[in-house]
């Protein structure tokens, strides 16, 4: 970036890093004139692209029918409070499953990292578990557990599908989360464990007080990513007949012969998920800044 920031500064025009370092540091020091010009260009190009898309869609032959089926204002306001209420079931599913996932995932990751031949069976079991539940589609696991176990007809086991939905989501996601934990544990340098062991801490104490706390801190962003996935996948349990947000919207859809309730559902997920996604971004960039400061 030149000091003048004039129009002939090709480095700025084509977005190349200037001689003074990477782009990130450049961005903060953009002079006001440049900033206004960039904002204007962004605004104009956004209007052109979005307006163009809107024109194409609105002029398509069946747009009036689609508008009626998907964008009915009355049905939207009718269904929104109902789906929000049903979303409570998704939140309950999500929260209970998430707690179980965090615990089970960590247990699986630790089991898989146990050294020596004695622990081979545990390592093997943990590996098979993770491979299996990462391989089988979540929807299938939900169906197999949700229809299969009550189908056994064992006395005393619940017939309500909710616990099976929680179990199925826990099984699937703990497999992913254990891999995230494992990557975190592996990323803690072995010298940390050496230091802990040299002080007389046992292997499990070293894991508990030294390795795992550092590992968890490092994997919080990818863990949150998995949470976002889990949040969305809670709609899959609608196949078991659990009345959650998607099931509720389908019921309204069937009653009103209109797809607008799905739009309300989409909106609820967007409103819930976007802040979480931004939080992940913020955590990642904070981590990066912190690591850069250490070098």
């Amino acid at each position: 970036m030149s000091i003048t920031g004039g129009p002939l500064d090709t480095g700025d025009l084509i977005g190349l890093p200037g001689p003074r370092g990477p782009r990130r540091s450049r961005r903060r020091r953009v002079p006001p004139r440049e900033a206004v010009r960039s904002a204007l260009i962004a605004l104009v190009s956004s209007v052109v692209v979005i307006g163009g898309l809107a024109l194409v869609i609105a002029n398509s032959p069946n747009w009036p029918d689609v508008q009626r089926a998907f964008f009915d204002g009355d049905i939207f306001w009718y269904s929104l409070p109902k789906v929000i209420e049903a979303f409570g079931t998704n939140i309950a599913l999500f929260v209970i499953a998430e707690i179980l996932i965090l615990v089970l995932g960590l247990v699986l990751a630790v089991l898989r990292g146990l050294p020596g031949p004695v622990f081979f069976p545990l390592r093997l079991l943990s590996t098979i578990y993770v491979d299996f539940f990462r391989a089988v589609p979540g929807l299938l696991v939900i169906a197999l557990l949700g229809f299969g176990i009550p189908g056994l007809g064992i006395e005393g086991i619940p017939t309500d599908p909710f616990p099976y939905a929680v179990l199925a989501l826990t099984f699937v996601y703990s497999a992913y989360v254990s891999e995230v934990y494992r990557a975190g544990i592996d990323s803690v340098h072995w010298s940390q464990e050496a230091a802990a062991r040299s002080l007389g801490l046992s292997r499990s104490q070293s894991l508990r007080y030294v390795v795992v706390p550092q590992a968890v801190r490092r994997v919080i962003p990818p863990l949150l990513n998995d949470f976002i996935g889990l949040q969305k996948d809670t709609v899959l349990v609608s196949t078991l007949g659990v009345v959650e947000i998607f099931r509720e919207s389908s019921i309204i859809k069937a009653a009103k012969f209109n797809f607008t309730p799905y739009l309300a559902v989409a909106l609820v997920f967007v409103v819930i998920t976007i802040p979480l996604a931004r939080l992940v971004d913020w955590l990642v960039s904070r981590d990066r800044a912190r690591q850069a400061a250490h070098r």
């Binding site: 010298s191 002080l199 030294v210």
Partner: protein, 258 residues
């Protein structure tokens, strides 16, 4: 080596190493180390990088399994089958080249973790002991800081205190100034000098020849996985017997490090 005289209860040896062998795959790093360190003695190990200094220290602390030979600490053979390595390690402190402080804990927690979890001290007792030790090295004011707020020299001093908080019989120092900026070396060596003055038994791997000459009771020259020569510093540095030792010291002098 099986017939080697064991360090019995009457022996004054804090640490006795007999016929120690260690290989990494094909590479034989230690080829029969014999070394006895009396209580309150400070032994410095010098030698080129790769001569086995660090491996020897890591073997003494059982961080590396030993292939053959015996290690006896205060009369107890720690290489015997079935010994509780966690019990052994608390009696042998080690300080590493890269400090290896726990970055997610404050200075105080770094120092008190092992006393609390291994020795079972209450938090209050452990804190009192740690604060006293930190005061001795002038870092009590930093006790609530995280390690990344400290300079390298301060971090290494905290690492020394962390090892001392377990009140070890023997302290092993593995090139503890090699990762430090030159101007920070002195403050760390000053702590070690004080420890030596207070009678701490130490085995020190070092490249700081001047320090070894000042502080050591004996200096051992390691070459090719053996202690080629061990003698009081005046003799090693002024009149080394072995040609390899002379050669090594010649290079050190040429590099301006002695």
């Amino acid at each position: 080596m099986i017939d080697a005289t064991p360090a019995g209860p009457g022996s004054d040896a804090a640490l006795a190493i007999e016929g120690l062998h260690k290989s990494f795959g094909e590479l034989e790093v230690l080829r029969g180390i014999d070394l006895e360190i009396a209580r309150h003695e400070v032994v410095c190990l010098i030698g080129a990088s790769g001569s086995g200094k660090s491996t020897l220290l890591r073997c003494v602390n059982l961080l590396e399994p030993v292939d053959a030979g015996r290690i006896v600490v205060e009369g107890d053979e720690i290489t015997a089958p079935g010994v509780d390595v966690n019990r052994i390690r608390r009696r042998i402190g080690i300080v590493f080249q890269a400090f290896n402080l726990f970055p997610h804990m404050t200075v105080l927690d770094n120092v008190t973790l092992a006393p609390r979890k291994v020795l079972g001290l209450s938090r209050a007792d452990a804190n009192a002991r740690a604060t006293e030790l930190l005061e001795r090295i002038g870092l009590a004011g930093k006790r609530n800081d995280y390690p990344d707020r400290l300079s390298g020299g301060q971090q290494q001093r905290v690492a020394i205190v962390r090892a001392l908080a377990m009140q070890p019989d023997v302290l092993l120092l593995d090139e503890i100034t090699s990762a430090l900026d030159p101007e920070l070396v002195a403050e760390v060596l000053a702590v070690i000098r004080e420890l030596a003055g207070n009678g701490m038994t130490m085995l020190i791997a070092t490249h700081e020849m001047g320090f070894a000459r000042d502080v050591a009771s004996r200096v051992g020259f390691l070459d090719g996985g053996r202690i080629l020569e061990i003698a009081p510093p005046a003799q090693i540095f002024a009149a080394p017997r072995e040609a390899r030792t002379q050669q090594f010291l010649q290079r050190v002098i040429e590099a301006g490090r002695l």
